[in-house]
Each structure stands twice: as C-alpha cells, then as structure tokens.
C-alpha cells in the first residue's frame, strides 16, 4: 500500500530539515517501519521517489542498519543486550527467560504478531546490566523473574505506549545512573519514539 497524505506530509516535513534530500532517508525508513512493522517493497518505492534515489539504493541502506527490519515485527520488539557488561552479569539467563516465555529464537516473531525477540549488541546500559529494550525503551537491572513478569504484563495489559520510566519502575533494578527526571513519553511502534519523526507519544496517567 502506498503512503497516505498524512504520512507523506510528515515525510516532507522531515526532508525540509536537511540541506540535501537524501539525508532524510534514515528517518523516512523509520516512517516505513512505523506503518507496516517492517520496510516493505512499496515503502521502498515511495521513499526512492521522495528522496530521488533508486530503489536499490534505498534497499542497500535499509539492509545495512540493524534497526530497520526486513520482516514484520510483532507489537513489542524485545531486544536483549548480550555485549560484555551484560554478558558477564548473566544476560544469558534473561535471554533464556524471554525465549522460554515467548517460545521464540533469535530474530523470530510469534504467530499472533505480539512479540519479536532479538539478541542485540551494546545498548549503552552497561552500569545497569543486564538490560533490555522494548520498542527501544530501556529497562535496566533485570532478573530472569522480572523479565518474565514484564513479558506477562505486555501480553496481558497490551500497553499502547511503551515508556522507559514505567518499565523501569515496574520491572527494573540497578540503573546505569540516577534517571532523576520523570518522563512520560515513549514509543507506540517498533521504532524509536522521537519527535522529529513524529513517533514520540505521551502516555495518559
């Protein structure tokens, strides 16, 4: 399906931020992923027209970066860190508990399109290892038990907007540093919640 006017309007607003159109390619790929849960062939055509490059050029970029997904993601993208600080603080047990709960292996999505599970490299939460991101919202200091609780909560409550601070308060432990500032904004898709691409969403209390 091609992009509707609302999405095209957002795309043009993004393009205007940059001296050269092609710089908007990365942000536009996030719009594509917000729309379909992955980078569809239709979106590749749309984006190639928007920034005046060939479809192959778009594809060569989208396939380079790990946050652009080639297959449809579930509602919740569970990214478990396995880099050094997490590795030595037993991220394996967190990985195993996610696998056990969801029945998924690395990079798999369940049939209900609820969860996608991936093992990822460093997410910059080393002081709060082991750490996980849900739709790119970070939760630090997890245990295998809390990880399962978090998955259950996602499955049962199906929150529309994922907010790092809420995840941390409910399920997190040791943090990399004092987060201090209260935050109520997060992401509603399997892309980062960020104002410039129109994906930052505020949660009602």
């Amino acid at each position: 399906m091609s992009w509707d006017n609302e999405l095209l309007e957002r795309a043009h607003k993004i393009i205007e931020l940059y001296p050269q159109k092609r710089s908007a390619l990365g942000p536009l790929l996030y719009l594509a992923q917000e729309k379909d849960g992955f980078i569809s062939d239709d979106s590749i055509v749309e984006i190639s027209n928007l920034v005046d490059i060939t479809e192959v050029q778009v594809k060569s970029v989208s396939s380079f970066y790990s946050m652009y997904k080639e297959e449809q993601t579930g509602t919740y993208l569970l990214s478990v860190c396995k880099s050094i600080s997490c590795e030595i603080n037993d991220s394996r047990s967190v990985i195993n508990s996610v696998k056990e709960f969801t029945g998924l292996e690395n990079y798999e999505t369940d049939q209900d399109k609820l969860f996608t599970f991936e093992e990822v490299e460093c997410i910059g939460a080393c002081g709060g290892a082991p750490a996980v991101q849900v739709n790119y919202e970070t939760v630090e200091g997890l245990t295998p038990e809390k990880t399962i609780e978090m998955c259950e909560w996602l499955k049962n409550d199906k929150p529309e907007i994922i907010v790092a601070d809420q995840l941390q308060n409910k399920f997190g432990g040791t943090k990399s540093f004092d987060w201090a500032i209260e935050d109520n904004t997060g992401s509603a898709y399997t892309v980062p919640g960020f104002q410039n691409i129109g994906t930052a969403k505020e949660k009602d209390n």
């Binding site: 710089s23 990365g26 996030y30 946050m67 600080s85 460093c122 910059g124 290892a129 500032i181 104002q195």
Partner: protein, 431 residues
C-alpha cells in the same frame, strides 16, 4: 579520591529539572554564550580551547583546539556532534544528553560561533530514543528563547540545529562513517586521505566532528578560561573526564574525575570494590576495543598517555571490571562477536577475520576446540593487524578490525591457561 564536577555539576544540583531551560538559565546557563557574543571575537574562543589542551572524548583523544584550527574555509561548513555512543561499556554521553542537554547546546552554539558555522547536527544513536527526545525538547526551548535560529540574542549570529537519529550501527561512531550515515548512505568509513572531515566532510564541505562530552565541556572552559581547565588533571590529559564503570563492581555508574588517579583507587572508591568480596581478575580500561589489564596492573594511572604506554588505551573512558570467577574465554567471545556483528564489510581482513575469530572462539567455548585453534587465532589476528603490535598496524580503512584482535591478544598474553583449559589435552590420533 573525590569527584570533580564540571560537566555533571548542574545535573547533580538540580536532579529533577536540570534539563529545563529556565533552571539552566537561572544557574549560570548560557552565560558563556553571552560572554562570547559580547566579546565578539571568534579567535579568542579557539585560543581558549587550545589553552585548555582538552583532547577529544570520543576515543581517539585528538586535541580539540588543533582540530578546530584545521577546519578549511568555505561558505558552507558544518558541525556534527557525535552522539553515536556504542562502545561496549560506555554510557557517559547518555547521561549528558538525558540530564543536561542545554550544556551541550550551549557548547554547540559557541563552537559554531567560533568556527563560523550556521548548521549543526546532533547525531544520536537510534537506541537512545529517550536521550534524543530530551535533546530535541531542549533544542525547541532554545529556539523559543532566541538562542537558536536567526539573529541569536539580537546579534547577527544564526544557527540551526537538527537532531538526527541513527539506526543501530556501532561503526557510525567512526566520524567518516557517521557522515555517510547522515548523508543517507550506508555507514561505511571513508578513506583518509582525501576524506578528512575538516576539508571534505558532510556533503564534501569542511566539517567539525566532535564528541558530546567534548562539546559539553566548552561552556565551562569559556566561563573559567582554558588555563583554569588545564590546571585540572595532568599534562597531556587535562580536565575532568566522565568514566563509565561497569561489570562486577558493587556500585556501577558514571563518575567525573580529574585524570591521573590509578584504576585501583577508582574501582575501590567509586565501585566500592568487587561484588561478593571477590578478587578482580581483569579489567578493560577504555571500552571493548581496548586490550585488557590484569588484577596486578591496578596501579596504572588513568591518563591517555599512561594507559597507552602500558599497552592499551583510555578510549571512551569505559572501565569494565571482571572478577575471579569470570570465564574470560566467554568474555572474549562476547567482544569478538560484537565486532563481527558491527563490521561494515568494506575491508576483507575485518569482514572475514572477525567472523573467523568469532567462529573459532565459539568452537572453543562450546568444548569442541582443537589445539591447533591457538595458532589459527594468531594467524587470523595477524592478517587483520600484522605483528599484533600496540598500537595496531592497520590493514583496514578504520580501526574496527584491529579492535577485535584486542581481547584475543589479552587472552594469549595474560590468560593463556584459561584458553588451554578449554581445549582437549590430547591430540586425537587419526584412525
């Protein structure tokens, strides 16, 4: 041993609202900008930075003032802030972005004033959604208050800032790869020469690329003078630095200290020692790319030059501590897997070599290793980084490939017994 708070002072004093522009303004915020606008002498700003002797905080440690001096003349010049912090063990830029975004923005405006730049980009890694939101919110506040846009504070200075989100590629922390990424291309490092950013950077225009922590230091330096900054720390490593401490310590975190103290004192004071009263077996002094030190090397001073002379690097200032029960083969495998995953694939020694190293370590870690794997590891490492010397000799465009060699040489030099323990003791005889 105490912290010296320059960059983290404001966020500590006002923990709940340090990100708010009014709170920042009330506490001396944007006063450095007002000072340079009043003096209206860009040359003076560059001289203050040179006097401070501050060296880049991203990992390479290049003198910032010198870098600014290299910027070629052109009508269009750019400043790009490198907030792609992805070096395993590092989370210092995250706290600066999240909790004191205006300090960075003020630094950006002053830098652009000094170098006659009208457009700046803050490139933040895609996984840092929350920090990016904070910075964008702060940028919008700064526009409203007249610190950004046309005729800043009534002067003829104009500047626009765009916050740009990456998409999950460690290699984009390499400055030329970052520029490619910002141009909407694959994050592949460019060859230097000719692509020195100061001459041929973003859109082939002269570009300054500086780390978040480096530019966050600019307001303090301007308010207090470069000479005052240079009094902190030690010669060659002036000022403070935010070290990220993680691993098997009791209290991990970011700690801002003057450079020059020993790693042992740092781990004891701020990490409060090792969890469960265990002994420290090894530590990484500067992020996953850095060769490891052993528990017997805790006297090494935390300066760029001392760490380099001891055979490693201070890098991004990430200290990762491993206790006596850590399986160092697993630890090395984790780091090597990281580099194999993050190799951009341009250069054969890195693309193939890191994958080979990962497979060999995987084989050893899973108990299927062979005695010949040791010489195979050395051979592959030698093809990526000839002679396995430090600093590494390069066969590749950027240092990512040689970085994957670091954990393996660390194992072989100091912990070969751990590697041997995981290999069969007898050579099977062919039947």
């Amino acid at each position: 041993m105490k912290e010296t708070l320059l960059l983290t002072k404001h966020m500590r004093a006002f923990p709940e609202n340090s990100h708010n522009i009014e709170v920042y303004e009330k506490n001396n915020g944007y006063s450095a900008l007002k000072k340079v606008l009043k003096e209206d002498n860009p040359e003076n700003v560059i001289n203050e930075i040179k006097d401070s002797n501050i060296r880049g905080r991203g990992g390479a440690g290049f003198p910032t003032g010198v870098k600014w001096g290299f910027l070629a003349e052109d009508e269009d010049r750019y400043l790009v802030i490198n907030g792609d912090e992805s070096e395993p063990g590092t989370f210092k830029d995250r706290i600066l972005l999240e909790r004191d975004p205006h300090q960075l923005i003020e630094g950006v405006i002053i830098t652009c004033f000094a170098s006659n730049i009208k457009k700046a980009f803050i490139y933040i890694r895609g996984e840092y959604a929350k920090p990016a939101r904070r910075v964008q919110e702060a940028v919008e506040q700064a526009y409203e208050k007249g610190y950004l846009g046309d005729n800043i504070l009534g002067t003829n200075l104009s500047l626009d800032i765009v916050v740009h989100l990456g998409a999950g590629a460690y290699i984009c922390g390499e400055e030329t790869a970052l520029l490619n990424s910002l141009e909407g291309k694959r994050g592949e490092p460019r060859l230097k020469p000719p692509y020195f950013p100061a001459v041929m950077g973003l859109y082939n225009k002269p570009t300054l690329v500086n780390n978040v922590e480096t530019i966050s230091s600019v307001p303090w330096i301007i308010n207090n003078s470069g000479k005052e900054y240079a009094k902190l720390g030690v010669e060659g490593s002036t000022g403070t630095r935010i070290f990220s401490l993680s691993g098997h310590v009791r209290t991990p975190g970011n700690f801002e200290i003057e450079m020059g103290k020993s790693f042992g004192e740092f781990v004891d004071t701020f990490g409060n020692g090792i969890k469960d009263d265990k002994k420290l077996k090894a530590y990484i002094p500067g992020g996953a790319s850095a060769p490891w030190f052993t528990g017997d090397q805790l006297d090494i001073k935390m300066t760029i030059d001392d760490v380099a002379n001891a055979g490693s690097m201070l890098g991004s200032g990430a200290v990762v501590v491993m206790d006596e029960d850590t399986n160092l083969v697993y630890a090395a495998k984790s780091i090597v897997s990281f580099f194999a995953h993050e190799s951009c694939g341009q250069c054969t020694p890195c693309r193939e070599g890191t994958t080979w190293l990962e497979m060999i370590l995987e084989r050893i870690a899973s108990g299927r290793g062979r005695l010949s794997d040791i010489s195979l590891l050395v051979d592959v490492c030698d093809n990526i980084s000839p002679g396995l010397s430090w600093p590494p000799k390069m066969t590749t465009i950027c240092p990512l490939g040689p970085s994957a060699v670091s954990p393996i040489t660390s194992l072989l030099d100091n912990f070969s017994d751990e590697l041997m323990k995981m290999l069969p003791t007898k050579i099977p005889i062919a039947q």
